[in-house]
C-alpha cells in the first residue's frame, strides 16, 4: 500500500471515530433537553426537522441503538445536521456554511503563515546557537504560554479605540454587503489584521522553539559537517543541508499539532466577535444549542483531517525516502 493510501485510510478511520463520538455524546445528556425545545418550537417546525432532531439525539427510544446509528449515518450523508436553536429556523448546515469561509480565511491563512514564519525564524535561531539569538528563547517560551484569546484581549485594549485604524470587532464594516468589490475586500482585510496578528504572534513562538531544537539536533549530523568541509557558502550549508532536513520533522509536527492549534485559534474569534465557527461555537455553548455544537465539532474535525492530508502531501514532496520509485 502506498504511503498516501495508508494515510487516507487512517483519515477515514478518524472521521468515522469523530462521527461515532458525535453520535454517543448527546446520548449522555440526562433528561431530554432537546425535547423541551422541540415542544416549544413545535408550532414552527416542520415534521421533517423534528424527525431529524429525534435521530440526532436518540429521542426515539423505541428504536434499537444499531438502527439509530444507521439512520444517523444516513442523515449525515445527506448533509442534514438538524436545526439550530439559536439561529432558528436555519438548519445547522446553513449556519455553518456562513461561518466556515471566515474561519478558513482567518485561521487557515494565519496558521500557515505562522508555521512558515516560525520555521524560518527557528532555523536562523538554531543556526546561530550560542549568540544573541539564544536570548529569544525565554521570550518565545513566555509568549507561547499565553492563551491566544487573552493576547487578543490585550491587543484590543491597546490597539483599538476611537480613532484607531484597527476595528475592535466584526469581519467587515457594518452596513456593507458581502461581495467581491474593493471596498468590501479592503474592509475585510482591515478587520482581519488584528485577529490575524494575534494568532500569528501566539502560534509563531511554538514553531520557533520546535524548529530551533530540530536545527540544533540536525546541525551535528555528519552531512552538515561534510558540507562545511566542502567549503560551501554558509547560506547553502544552512539552507540546503541543515534546514532542509530539520524541516521534515517540523512538517509532520505541524500535521500532528493542528488539532491542538485550531482549538486555540478559534477562541480568538470570540474576542474579536469575528463571525466564524469559533464565535458560533461560543454562542452554541451559551445557548445549549446542541445540534449546532455537534455540527461545528464535525466540520472542524473534517477540516483538520483535510489539512492533515495536505501536510502529508507536502511531506511526501519533501522527503525522497517516502517516495516510491516509478
Amino acid at each position: 500500500m502506498s504511503y498516501l493510501l495508508k494515510r487516507l485510510a487512517f483519515y477515514l478511520l478518524t472521521a468515522w471515530a469523530a462521527v461515532t463520538i458525535n453520535f454517543f455524546v448527546p446520548r449522555m445528556i440526562p433528561g431530554d433537553p432537546v425535547q423541551a425545545l422541540i415542544t416549544k418550537q413545535r408550532g414552527q417546525m416542520t415534521s421533517e426537522a423534528v424527525r431529524s432532531l429525534y435521530v440526532l439525539f436518540g429521542l426515539d427510544k423505541n428504536e434499537s441503538l444499531a438502527s439509530q446509528y444507521f439512520s444517523y449515518l444516513g442523515q449525515l450523508l445527506r448533509g442534514d445536521l438538524g436545526m439550530s436553536f439559536t439561529f432558528f429556523p436555519s438548519p445547522v448546515s446553513d449556519v455553518i456554511s456562513d461561518g466556515l469561509p471566515w474561519t478558513v480565511g482567518l485561521v487557515g491563512i494565519t496558521t500557515v503563515i505562522g508555521f512558515l514564519l516560525g520555521t524560518a525564524a527557528g532555523a536562523v535561531v538554531g543556526w546561530r546557537r550560542g549568540t544573541w539569538a539564544d536570548s529569544l528563547i525565554p521570550v518565545t517560551t513566555f509568549v507561547s504560554s499565553i492563551p491566544y484569546f487573552w493576547l487578543g484581549l490585550v491587543a484590543i485594549a491597546v490597539l483599538t479605540g476611537p480613532g484607531s485604524f484597527f476595528p475592535a470587532s466584526g469581519a467587515y464594516e457594518i452596513g456593507l454587503v458581502p461581495n467581491w468589490d474593493w471596498q468590501f475586500i479592503g474592509s475585510t482585510v482591515q478587520h482581519g489584521l488584528l485577529p490575524g496578528f494575534t494568532i500569528l504572534v501566539s502560534s509563531v513562538s511554538g514553531w520557533i522553539l520546535s524548529m530551533r531544537n530540530m536545527m540544533v539536533t540536525v546541525s551535528s549530523d555528519d552531512y552538515v559537517t561534510v558540507a562545511h568541509a566542502k567549503g560551501l557558502p554558509e547560506r547553502r550549508v544552512m539552507l540546503a543541508y541543515a534546514a532542509r532536513n530539520a524541516l521534515l520533522p517540523n512538517v509532520s509536527g505541524f500535521a500532528l499539532a493542528l488539532g491542538f492549534i485550531v482549538g486555540g485559534t478559534l477562541l480568538v474569534e470570540i474576542v474579536f466577535s469575528y463571525p466564524g465557527l469559533g464565535l458560533q461555537l461560543f454562542q452554541a455553548v451559551g445557548a445549549k444549542d446542541y445540534p449546532l455544537l455537534q455540527g461545528i465539532f464535525l466540520v472542524i474535525t473534517l477540516s483538520v483531517l483535510l489539512a492533515n492530508l495536505l501536510a502529508d502531501v507536502a511531506y511526501l514532496a519533501l522527503d525522497p525516502r517516502t517516495r516510491r520509485e516509478a
Binding site: 487512517f10 469523530a18 484581549l153 488539532g259 483538520v304
Partner: protein
C-alpha cells in the same frame, strides 16, 4: 549550569503556585464573590488588582482561583499520564494487531481537535465540576504522550539487555517494570508537565466560554466576567491583565521545567555553546587563544 538554573527557576515558580493553590482561598483578603460598593475601581492599596462591576475584589478572585487551576492541571495530568503509559508501553512492547490497533487509537485521538472535543463533551455533561472537567481533559489528551512512549519502548525493546532478559524467560511484567519503565521516567515526566500545561489552558479556555465549576472561581471565570461585562470597552484593564499574567507565568514555569527535562533527554541540546567569549560552532571548531602568561 544554565540548564539547571532554568529548570530550578521553573520548579521554584511552580512550588509557589502550588502553595498558593493550598493557602490561596484562606489568605485572600476578601470573599471573591462578595459584592461591595466599590464598583469597577482601578487597583488601590485596598484592592490590589481593582474591583469588578459588582465591587468584587479581583485579587481575591485570582488567589482563590489558583486552587481550581492547579487541581484540574494535576488531576488531568495524572489521568492522561497513566493512560499514556498504559497505552504507549503496551503498544510499544506488544507487536502485531494489538499494537497497531492501540497506535491507531492514539493517532485518532491526536488528530481530532482536542478543544472542540472537550467542549462538546463538557457541555453535554449533566453537571460540570472541577473534577469532571479534569477527567474529560485527562481522558482526551493522553494520545501525544502515548505516541512518544510507544516509539521509545519500541527502541528499548531491541536493546541487548532486554533481549537477554527475554531469553532468560523473565516475565513480561518484570521486564516492563524493571528494564523498560526506569528508562522512560524522563520522557514520562516531560509528558506529564506538557499535559498539565495543556489542561490548565483548556480549563481556562472552557471557563472563558462559560463552561466551569458552578459557583467556583478560576482564572478563566475572571476573564469570562471581564469579557461579558465589556471590561475592555470601559477601560478596565485591571480586570483581565492579572489573570492572564498568572496563566502566562504558570505556563512559563511548566515550560522551563520541561526545557530542563528535554535537555536531559537530548544531549545535543545540552552542550554548552558559549563560554568565556568562545562560541562553539559546527564546521569551524573554535581555536582558543594562547593564554598570555
Amino acid at each position: 549550569m544554565r540548564t539547571n538554573a532554568k529548570a530550578l527557576t521553573g520548579v521554584i515558580m511552580l512550588v509557589v503556585f502550588v502553595l498558593l493553590a493550598v493557602i490561596g482561598p484562606w489568605i485572600a483578603p476578601f470573599d471573591p464573590s462578595m459584592r461591595s460598593n466599590a464598583l469597577l475601581q482601578p487597583p488601590s492599596s485596598m484592592h490590589w488588582f481593582g474591583t469588578t462591576h459588582l465591587g468584587q475584589d479581583i485579587f481575591s478572585q485570582v488567589l482563590a482561583g489558583t486552587r481550581s487551576v492547579v487541581f484540574v492541571g494535576a488531576v488531568a495530568g495524572v489521568v492522561a499520564t497513566v493512560l499514556s503509559v498504559l497505552v504507549g508501553i503496551t503498544a510499544g512492547y506488544l507487536s502485531g494487531t494489538a499494537s497497531e490497533g492501540l497506535s491507531a487509537l492514539s493517532n485518532v485521538f491526536l488528530v481530532i481537535p482536542a478543544l472542540p472535543l472537550i467542549i462538546i463533551i463538557t457541555s453535554s455533561l449533566p453537571e460540570t465540576s472541577n473534577l469532571t472537567i479534569a477527567l474529560v481533559i485527562g481522558l482526551t489528551s493522553w494520545a501525544w504522550n502515548a505516541r512518544v512512549l510507544r516509539a521509545q519502548t519500541l527502541s528499548l525493546r531491541r536493546r541487548d539487555y532486554v533481549e537477554a532478559a527475554r531469553a532468560n524467560g523473565e516475565s513480561t511484567w518484570r521486564i516492563i517494570l524493571f528494564e523498560i519503565l526506569p528508562n522512560l521516567y524522563a520522557v514520562i515526566a516531560s509528558g506529564f508537565v506538557g499535559t498539565v500545561l495543556f489542561a490548565v489552558i483548556s480549563e481556562i479556555t472552557l471557563a472563558f466560554i462559560g463552561v466551569s465549576d458552578a459557583g467556583g472561581w478560576n482564572w478563566g471565570t475572571v476573564l469570562y466576567w471581564a469579557q461579558s461585562q465589556q471590561a475592555l470597552a470601559q477601560g478596565a484593564w485591571w480586570w483581565f491583565v492579572p489573570a492572564g499574567l498568572a496563566i502566562a507565568l504558570l505556563g512559563t514555569s511548566l515550560s522551563l521545567v520541561n526545557f530542563g527535562i528535554d535537555e536531559y533527554v537530548n544531549p545535543r541540546l545540552r552542550t554548552r555553546f558559549s563560554m568565556r567569549g568562545v562560541r562553539m560552532r559546527v564546521g569551524f571548531t573554535p581555536v582558543l587563544a594562547k593564554e598570555t602568561s
